[in-house]
Symmetry: C2
Subunit: 331 residues, 2 copies
């Protein structure tokens, strides 16, 4: 049995007890198909299997590789590519998967690409306020008709209220979510279909319109989501070794190539983070540090953190209980 | 022959003509062993081979995997691990490589780890002003004696003036470099040995003390280094496809998992970047964009960008002339 202490560092580690509590809490709030776990947060079929064990059999992903990996893992009951893809080769491969595959479309071009690839089911992706993908809400009905004219089955709508997702104040987050979902509901009335797919970890219990919530980060959590006081706890950290100690600071081997940095510096229990460089985090330790000490580094954003690592170690206390490949990386 | 246009996106691409001009310019300024290319910038033995073809046979890296890969590729004439590592397993593996291996040490603990692993040569890593690894300058002589007492050969000193590296004003950069290198020279006087290893792309022609310069980013360049008006041009970009177009903005498939973000948002020729999310860049295009258009996204920091990608495509004009594995990723 490997001890946490003995892992080669930097190592991506999740506390499996916290992780399982997060999974159970979400499955209680959004049982079965009320949650469509978004695998982009972890890119790991081993974690998707745990989500399935909690009753969620419908998944979504952001890349063709994520969907292909889920299908290969026998998790292909109902897969949603919650993103636009126009590459014919990869769309055709999705159509060939041993899985039910639905793709998001938001333009005539993406509808045409899906139809040409032999895909059969789509969701109309609606822009509900985040300047990213999604058609204008008042164009959704027309686009659904266009998709049907190309032989596609339109299962409903999708709209990501990403601009509401990490609003710190719960009332403001609720208001932003409601405003976004009013747009999605109006679009849904024009589009039809059974599915209204939206949401994420930050709005999982606020979004009253979605028939399914696309949450992913709740599994691991990060310092950005931690501020929202959600009923999920931080399970993920990068395990690092102190390499160098000076009077005012210490340095551990967890840097920019082990951390998603778009939400800023990571946090540490062992001290205050000064800055990160390619392979190092420099921090002011609370207690005197020694070379060889192990420390936990909590990322500010889990998704681009997991995407840097080859594997995820699950630990219970200080024992490594499982090693999972981060097998859905790349595109 | 694959066309750039036909690459699956997002793709890490370097313009080989610009890259070769960067290599030639550096080889002219710092011929042969005057440059010790730092492979952390590209993590690619294919690029290291091109650097060797320009006369540089001594490399450095930041991780054991980088050194092991170089040795396997026959590039092990003189490898420097320009970082502290205390993991016995990986240090012992370095000692077993079919290569000349020198490691940086900055404490009794790192000296002891190197000696115990069977390594034979070290550089004393000196803190020259950047709060990261490196012993205090006035402790370098004592540490060198300690290393010799453990049977290690001390080849000299190393000190990275990272705090001077991207200072925009050349005179200020020069002053910061000189101040840092005065500390390194004093330490070197106490330590002895032939090697004074320091520097990087930003100080390659300012550092008058180093016997060898550890530059890496000059190969690719990025928007941070671009501001320094160095004689190197931006060769690297992420090739992306426009997925969605709205009246005010467009969205392409190059996001946080394809870009190092610690230096901020990337730049684009096709428009002004608004923000990045996991798989997207939202930008205001200068000219009307269409779904399926290809665009170039220039990262703000090359090192953590390359570390996300499996391969690098070399293009000349719009033709793909080579595909290189980013084979030195991980630790």
């Amino acid at each position: 049995m490997t001890a946490l202490e003995d892992l080669p560092t930097p190592a991506l580690v999740a506390d499996v007890d916290i992780l399982e509590r997060n999974l159970a809490e979400m499955a209680r709030a959004l049982p079965g198909p009320r949650l469509r776990p978004h695998v982009k947060a972890h890119k790991c079929t081993g974690i998707a299997r745990r989500q399935a064990a909690h009753g969620h059999r419908h998944f979504c992903g952001a890349t063709p590789r994520e969907l292909a990996g889920l299908a290969r893992a026998g998790l292909g009951d109902d897969l949603l590519l919650a993103n636009e893809v126009v590459d014919p080769t990869r769309l055709e491969a999705l159509a060939q998967l041993d899985a039910r595959v639905t793709v998001a479309v938001d333009s005539e071009a993406t509808v045409a690409a899906a139809a040409a690839a032999g895909l059969r089911e789509v969701l109309i992706d609606v822009n509900v306020g985040l300047p990213r993908c999604g058609c204008a809400p008042d164009d959704a009905g027309r686009l659904a008709d266009f998709a049907r004219s190309r032989g596609l089955s339109v299962r409903g709508v999708m709209g990501y209220e990403g601009h509401a997702m990490i609003v710190a104040d719960r009332l403001e987050r609720d208001a932003a979510t409601s405003k976004a979902m009013a747009l999605l509901a109006a679009a849904h009335a024009e589009v039809g279909g059974d599915v209204v797919s939206a949401g994420g970890t930050g709005t999982f219990d606020l979004n009253a319109i979605a028939t399914e919530i696309q949450a992913g980060s709740y599994v691991f959590m990060d310092t950005a989501y931690e501020k929202l006081e959600l009923p999920f706890a931080q399970a993920l950290f990068v395990w690092a070794t102190v390499l160098s100690v000076s009077p005012q600071f210490a340095v551990a081997d967890c840097g920019l190539k082990a951390l998603g940095m778009d939400h800023g510096d990571p946090a540490m229990g062992a001290g205050k983070v000064w800055f990160c460089s390619d392979e190092h985090v420099t921090f002011a330790p609370h207690e005197p540090a020694r070379v060889g000490d192990r420390v936990r580094v909590y990322p500010a954003h889990v998704d681009p953190t997991a995407a840097y690592h080859e594997r995820l170690y699950l630990v219970s206390g200080d024992r490594v209980v499982d090693t999972l490949e981060i097998d859905l990386r790349g595109w």
